[in-house]
């Protein structure tokens, strides 16, 4: 259980939201473009790193009976910090992500990591775990956002890349498009894993 393995497991083995099928609400809602995916992912990563760190530091001090309440207070504080800082320095991103920033509080990934990991492990590994899972989440949201942006508006990161007669699938920018794109990505990942498992033995 080294620090590097705790970090890297978030990038493929338990990458959210594909492997840990948690945190789907922001995943489906904000990934209409690559940049939104990165913004949401970074905000979540920040909250995840600090909530993991603080939960882990306070793990012997918090009585078991009130642990969920304490975790939520810690998580909510960092979410408000993210919200204020984003509003103060990244106003346009804040306007796009809007209601989904406060909703990071109830993102299952964060409470899940606090409860299942940080409350049982030391601060350094918890930090590595939070960073790994957070970056994995950012990566997933970015990929999903890019696919939807490419098919839904014909551009990547705001730059138009498709041919001129390309007719954008507006469907991909709507919520059902998010489900379809997520499902296809999940299937692809499972296919790769299957393939690897068969090769390995």
């Amino acid at each position: 259980m080294s620090i590097t393995s705790e970090f890297s497991k978030g990038l493929w083995k338990t990458i959210p939201p594909f492997r840990l099928v948690l945190g789907l609400c922001p995943t489906l809602a904000v990934t209409t473009s690559g940049i939104n995916g990165i913004g949401m992912g970074m905000a979540t990563t920040f909250v995840l790193i600090f909530s993991n760190l603080f939960v882990s530091l306070l793990r012997n001090f918090i009585p078991r009976q009130v642990r969920i309440a304490s975790f939520i207070v810690i998580i909510a504080s960092f979410v408000v910090i993210v919200e204020l800082v984003m509003q103060a320095y990244f106003y346009q991103l804040f306007k796009v992500l809007g209601i989904f920033i406060p909703l990071i509080v109830v993102n299952c990934i964060i409470l899940g990591r606090a409860e299942a990991f940080a409350s049982k492990h030391g601060p350094v590994v918890s930090l590595a775990d939070g960073l790994g899972i957070g970056l994995g989440f950012t990566l997933s949201l970015f990929v999903l956002g890019c696919i939807r942006e490419l098919l839904g508006s014909g551009s990547i990161l705001g730059i138009y890349v498709m041919w001129s007669s390309f007719e954008p699938f507006a469907f991909m920018l709507k919520p059902p498009g998010a489900f379809v794109a997520l499902g296809i990505l999940l299937a692809l990942m499972n296919l790769i894993s299957h393939h690897q498992a068969r090769k390995g033995g």
Partner: protein, 186 residues
Amino acid sequence: MRDIVKMIVVLSLIAAASGLSLSLIHRATKGPIEYQTIKFVKEPAVKKVLTGYDNDPIADRKKIVVGLDEKGRPRELIIFPAKKGAETFAVALEGKGKGFHGLIGVMVGVSRDGQLLDIGITAHSETPGVGSKVADVSFTNQFKGLPIDKEPTVDAISGATYSSRGVVAAVSQAVGYVKKFRKEIF
């Protein structure tokens, strides 16, 4: 018993620490947030309603106190002056009126001689496609050139009476401020 006391103490301590740090961060970000809202929400509206100035109305903005809010704190209004040379010939200020869904914010340009120059909607949550039409130029243009000493009369948007009235109420509020605080504003 000891467990209960411990629970209460720990949870209270965590909540207090969180409250303290958040209030500090709130104080630190208050200025930048105000600047960002002015830049992204108010500035486009100010630029729409004022023309022909040679200063920067955003940088020259000033605050006047227009009464007290429910908690007894002074309610501030931001004035964006348009100047030619040293003379302020028009100002932009925001009024709010009750629409169909909550308040509608309207930036109103008023000239020194008492005319409405133009209006621009800064914030609204009206029904998309119906009430949201109050932000269209065809509606807002009706306010151009109306005198401020009369209640503004405009054609309402069919199906969006409440939203149209909300805009008129917001304009009236802004005009009311101009009349009441003329000395401070110009």
